[in-house]
Symmetry: C2
Subunit: 456 residues, 2 copies
């Protein structure tokens, strides 16, 4: 069999990991990346929401023996620490035990490791500064301009996989071909990166094993730890709302806003207004599209196919799981790319839609519901149910973050569970007042009823 | 005041009419049209669903004194004639009297008249063969390639209005700018144009004052009359369904399909398989996007902003109404284009969304519900209510087609009326069994209840 030649567009997290998977199958892999090599150039800073690596990402990394190396550079976060305006702290664990954590990790370090690993395979090449200008997708051809040299070339291989992210140039080409369904929806909110630097001697100024949230209803600030003692903070705020990015025009505006709303962060973020005005304001987009492929010629994977907002910490995990599932489809159908891509799309589309919706919902949970007493009781009930009914009850968060339940199934089951538990927790003042067995039985009944109504 | 220079992209129906509006205000208008001049070249045939001109379009034409000239070439259609498989005919009037008709008109003739009228103004120029390659929208610049001469030029004016249709090149440029929300959704159905030629001596082979429908559940055939005695037929059919376009591969397949499903059309469409295989299969798309403008620099109008499926006969009518409403906004805000466009968008967005949804729903009504006895009774009830309660009751169809009720209001009110009447008609065998006064009162009650729940 002729050695297959696969063109990848984009050497981000998904593209770099996928290259490793494909290289291990013996394919020749060429990656065309728009940006310079981040291992040499100074990376554009100020737009890197920290990543929370969890079970799906870890599993996908483990299949190419990278999980332990990656986790070595990560900081486990055991739960959420909520900071009220008056400084009061409320802690909410993510899991029922210390193994159920999510892992704070820097995008840059992980991406560099994945590129290094990919290039250490003999059959992977990465070309940088290659801007995709479009192409003839039905012919399997793409045109790239070398932004450093100004040259343009046409590239083709046995197949093309676009891992070029939310603003995918390849997806924009697919849009020009008939019957490509697409929805791209921006939040009314933008985000701004800020930094809590390390304390004396590289110490952490706030608890390093938690994801910190300052929930404020319509908006919020979060902070994730880095190994050097710093925290990467992200302010999620509406543009046109009050307060909003549009109204924060001067250092005095920003300082006053933080003093009023996030007073405990004032001593933690010394470069507040410098960060605020030098870092760009990022946008938050949800993309759904179909088809993801054109026969066997081109496939969209990761954010290029299904960009999601970051509030479930699943963007990278989902993209990594994409790689593993595509790899499974190659196991099944070989290099019959049309069949591989169709099987992958059929397997994956509903799950990608589901995590997109879950991520949007989780924004409300993070910025608002975490300050709702009924919601806090519900989260406690979930952990108690997981302990009391091991293997029989899993919360939605747990199915998504600590198990590899298909996203669509997790969403459907999770919503039913949430609805029963929120109803039962309403009005309670302490979790001891909840009859766990009754809650479990109510949930089972609702799940059975739902399953029956689906069958009939 | 300096004479304003407006660039229009696209000399289709919306662009040509808008040019006339703008010319009458004294602006210099340059239209850049991708195709050759259809008044000279042979137009690409076989993809022109006939148009049904109704009140919104007539009103917009009347404001530039074109309504009577256009209606002179139109054929009024008083209602739908449904053709069952066994040849049985069922007639359903559109309106309560002979003035409530929709008007069958050819796209080509109307477009030519509008271009002629635009060019007869001293301050309008149309450039043909101009393909928009993109541009710098924030700078108000567009790049066009002259497809006949191979030259490229950059164009700018005081403002740009994109009337370049469902596949708008300008909209694709807006997509590259941050926070542009877009949804483009194709139906699973395509369409194919067929022709019923004139009978002996230019006679009409079927009734010329009706819109003919062969409703078949998931798909349908329709026919609209032309002044020369012919009918333009359109088959709306799924691609992958059974039956479906994908399965109709040979003349024998097509003939058998029509013999079984549309037997009464066999003698009417002599060139059936020639038409079928030489005409392209068209796609049906719904587009929603926001924002429609970038400050005062660029505006999307007509299909470019809100392409809809053709089943309510409102695509052109809506685009023409767009022109009239934009003209109202110019009356109010002059050439402060940013304010004009923002006011226009705020006035029009909800209505464009509503007619998009109504058009999708009407596909089901045309292909399926028109064969449902309860639905037929409901339509009768509507006309009786309009007669009995003049000025107090208007059906949804009437609000959309014979009145200029805002689309969003028509949709909301119409849905409530439909739900009350469908419920009351369920199980009846004759319209005499319906208590019209009770129906009217029930509707009023539901409308009041709805209005109250919105207020509170």
């Amino acid at each position: 069999m002729k050695k297959q030649h696969v063109i990848l567009v984009g050497a981000g997290l998904a593209g770099s990991l996928l290259a490793i998977y494909l290289a291990k199958r013996g394919f020749q892999v060429d990656i065309y990346e728009r940006r310079p090599d981040m291992r040499q150039a100074s990376i554009s800073a100020g737009r890197s929401i920290n990543l929370a690596l969890s079970v799906r990402g870890i599993h996908a990394l483990s299949r190419v023996n990278l999980d332990q190396r990656v986790l070595a550079d990560a900081l486990p976060m055991t739960g959420r620490m909520m900071h009220a305006v008056d400084g009061q702290l409320t802690y909410q664990p993510y899991g029922k035990n210390e193994n159920e954590v999510i892992n704070s990790i820097s995008r840059r370090g992980l991406n560099c490791l994945l590129m290094d690993t990919a290039e250490s395979e003999n059959n992977v090449r990465i070309f940088f500064n290659q801007r995709c200008l479009g192409g003839d997708l039905e012919a399997g051809q793409l045109i790239f301009r070398d932004e450093a040299r100004g040259e343009t070339r046409t590239v083709s291989g046995d197949t093309i996989i676009a891992t070029d992210g939310a603003t995918s140039a390849v997806r924009m080409e697919m849009q020009k071909i008939g019957r490509f369904n697409l929805s791209q929806m921006y939040l009314e909110h933008g985000y701004k990166e800020l930094t809590i630097p390390p304390g004396a001697g590289g110490s952490f100024q706030i608890d390093k094993n938690m994801l910190h949230i300052w929930p404020r209803g319509d908006y919020m600030l979060i902070a994730l730890p880095n190994p050097d003692g710093s925290f990467t903070c992200t302010l999620f705020l509406g543009y046109a709302s009050t307060p909003g990015f549009d109204g924060l025009k001067t250092p005095a505006d920003v300082l006053q806003f933080f003093q009023e709303i996030f007073p405990d962060t004032i001593p933690l973020i010394p470069e507040l207004s410098e960060d605020f005005f030098s870092n760009p304001t990022g946008n938050l987009i949800t993309i759904k599209c179909l088809p993801w492929h054109i026969d066997g010629k081109v496939l969209l994977l990761g954010d290029a196919a299904h960009a999601i907002v970051p509030f479930y910490g699943q963007g990278m995990n989902c993209a990594f799981e994409d790689c593993a599932i595509l790899d499974d489809c190659i196991s099944e159908y070989g290099t019959d790319w049309a069949r591989v891509y169709q099987a992958y799309q059929e397997k994956r589309k509903a799950d990608a839609d589901a995590i997109a919706d879950l991520a949007l919902e989780n924004f409300i949970e993070m910025r608002d519901s975490v300050a709702n007493p009924t919601f806090l009781l519900k989260r406690k009930a979930e952990l108690l149910l997981e302990e009391k009914y091991p293997g029989k009850f899993l919360s939605k968060y747990s199915m998504v973050s600590f198990h590899r339940t298909a996203y669509a199934a997790a969403m459907k089951k999770g919503r039913i569970q949430d609805s029963v538990l929120m109803e039962m927790c309403e009005g309670l003042t302490d979790i001891d007042q909840l009859d766990l067995d009754l809650a479990f039985n109510n949930i089972q009944q609702r799940l059975s009823a739902e399953a029956e109504s689906n069958d009939s």
